[in-house]
């Protein structure tokens, strides 16, 4: 599969990465190169193989559950400390129109 520039733009838009025209061309060449190389996976017979999700070497890994206890929060200042645009007790962003 070879991606056209429209697809590159759509992906960049989905990923919220601004690309100018020259970057679109460059990204197209690089990504197509990588995808072309990845294409070899299609030759593997994976019929009936259960996909491996998660990184555990143990196939039967299961989630551990946490007790329903409040032991976090109450730290608005720390939460807001790194904000590029702190507005009082809120994070500020350009006005969103729904």
């Amino acid at each position: 599969m070879s991606l056209d520039t429209a697809t590159i733009r759509r992906i960049a838009s989905l990923a919220r990465i601004r690309l100018d025209e020259s970057e679109v061309q460059q990204a197209q060449a690089e990504i197509n190169g990588i995808l072309g190389w990845i294409e070899q996976l299609q030759e593997v017979d994976t019929e009936g193989v259960e996909p491996m999700a998660g990184g555990s070497p143990v196939a039967q890994a299961r989630a551990r559950l946490r007790p329903d206890v409040v032991n976090d929060g109450g730290q608005a200042d720390a939460i807001l400390a790194n904000a590029p645009d702190r507005q009082g007790e809120y994070f500020g962003v350009p006005k969103v129109v729904e």
Binding site: A53, R62, A63, Q87, V97
Partner: protein, 483 residues
């Protein structure tokens, strides 16, 4: 007769499915230890996990899982012992991680069903497709600043149950009844408080229209409708819009819309343009959620009595289906009724609760959770009726006094001397006086004008300030007039 909307080209049927987001009752959030309480200071109930900080990881809250299972059991649904969380990727200002952790491919709860009752008493079964757990987003405030939106992450990470119905509803009324029923079940279970004003429950309404006999046409999703009334209005408004589109020869295209409550119309949501490409994939930070069947069985055994079962029990106690329905709508009402009815005549209790008591709640704008008369006192009033201390009309007087004073009925009867007179002799004496004072009317009665009977009963009761036992008064008047 099924519900249709009349268009220029004839009648249109509605097809409606609901996705209800119900906030799980839990102390802490789904994946963090921050509190879930409503109305806290902005960003004060936020962990670094909820705010999507670098290196933060989710850990599942056991109680949220238990609540989802209880709800699934309450919806007569399949509990999946193996489920999994997925990431739903999209950018939004109040979605800190850039994805929502949800259950897409393998939800914790599968198919179920609920029965709704419509105004004409007809019941209908609505299919549940699934219920899954997911985290809520934060909140954007758009009215605090001229050019900025403000973000509060207190809600971010709060556990939600998304309950997805089959497209089984065919009218605004059915949609309303379904949402009402789900809310009722969740409140009975104690898994969601159902406070729609606070956003604890909200619905995405999927609507399409079609001509009789057709398959499904394209649907639109009206997002985040936050009251039962608005759901019914949104269904109607969106259906009418779609009918206009089709009838103009255009095509309805699938999109996400918003219900403008002020104008009563739906409009397209610009911010959801990526809605078709969420790039779901298994959440690599969470291994699969595996439940033990013993644990599920234990939750099932501890489940409270649900409204349908309770209603059937009330009918078996001799209540009318209507009264049983009304009394079980809210768990608090049912509990109140059962306290009143305990050891007493259930029908009498039902009449009083649905009659005078409900009227009083309405009039005084009170809630059954905060009643103007306690269930114990109302029960005591019923006892005074049963032992003939009070007549029906006296009891109404006493009830009014109870509302005013909050006192127990016995006390009011004592203070005001409102005991019913059951002494035949005393009644005979009064009847004799009345007859003496109205000799002309006695003659008329005896000459055949029998409808004057009521006049004598009324005069007697009046003379007795209403305290005469109505049955005895009747009997004595009849005997005396027969002379």
């Amino acid at each position: 007769m099924s519900y249709t909307i009349e268009g220029r080209t004839g009648p249109w049927e509605l097809v409606i499915g609901l996705e209800i987001h119900a906030q799980v009752i839990s102390e802490a959030k789904l994946f963090s230890g921050a509190a879930t309480e409503f109305g806290a200071e902005p960003n004060s109930q936020v962990s670094f996990i909820d705010a999507g900080f670098p290196g933060m990881l989710p850990v599942i809250n056991a109680e949220c899982v238990a609540q989802a299972v209880r709800t699934g059991l309450g919806l007569n649904a399949q509990v999946n012992l193996w489920s999994r969380f997925d990431r739903k990727n999209y950018f939004y200002a109040d979605l800190p991680q850039g994805f929502q952790i949800s259950q897409f491919a393998h939800p914790i709860i599968g198919e179920g069903a609920v029965e709704i009752t419509l105004a004409d008493g007809v019941t209908k079964t609505i299919g549940i497709t699934r219920l899954h757990l997911e985290q809520d987003a934060g909140k954007s405030l758009h009215d605090q600043h001229a050019t900025k939106s403000f973000i509060d992450l207190n809600r971010s990470g709060v556990a939600l149950m998304e309950i997805v119905s089959e497209p089984d509803m065919r009218s605004p009324e059915e949609a309303g009844a379904y949402l009402t029923k789900i809310r009722q079940i969740l409140r009975y279970l104690g898994t969601c408080d159902g406070n729609m004003d606070e956003g604890s429950m909200r619905a995405d309404v999927n609507v399409s229209v079609r001509k009789a006999g057709e398959g499904f046409r394209t649907r639109c999703e009206v997002k985040n409708v936050n009251s039962i009334r608005f759901v019914m209005q949104a269904v109607e408004a969106e259906a009418r819009r779609q009918i206009e589109v089709w009838e103009a020869g255009d095509e309805v295209f699938q999109e996400t819309r918003l219900f403008d409550t002020a104008r009563g119309i739906t409009r397209s949501m610009r911010s959801k343009e990526d809605a078709h490409d969420y790039r779901y994939f298994p959440e690599p930070d969470l291994p699969p959620l595996v439940l033990e069947s013993d644990w599920v069985e234990a939750l099932k055994a501890a489940l409270p009595e649900l409204p349908d079962v309770r209603r059937a029990r009330y009918v078996a106690m001799g209540l009318s289906p209507y009264d049983a329905h009304v009394l079980t709508l809210e768990k608090e009402t049912a509990v109140f009724f059962e306290t009143v009815a305990k050891g007493r005549d259930a029908k009498l209790a039902a009449n009083w609760v649905t009659g005078d008591f409900f009227a009083a709640l309405n009039r005084l704008k009170r809630d059954v959770a905060d009643p103007p008369v306690t269930a114990e006192n109302l029960g005591a009033l019923l006892d005074l009726i049963s032992d003939k201390t009070l007549s029906g009309s006296l009891a109404k007087q006493v009830f009014e006094a109870m509302l005013e004073t909050g006192k127990a009925p016995g006390e009011i009867v004592e203070e005001r001397g409102l005991k019913q007179v059951t002494d035949t002799g005393a009644i005979e004496a009064v009847v004799a006086q009345v007859m003496a004072a109205n000799a002309d009317k006695v003659a008329e009665y005896r000459s055949g004008k029998e409808k004057l009977f009521g006049f004598f009963v009324g005069q007697t009761m009046k003379a007795m300030q209403g305290k005469g036992n109505p049955a005895l008064v009747n009997e004595v008047v009849k005997t005396a007039l027969a002379g």
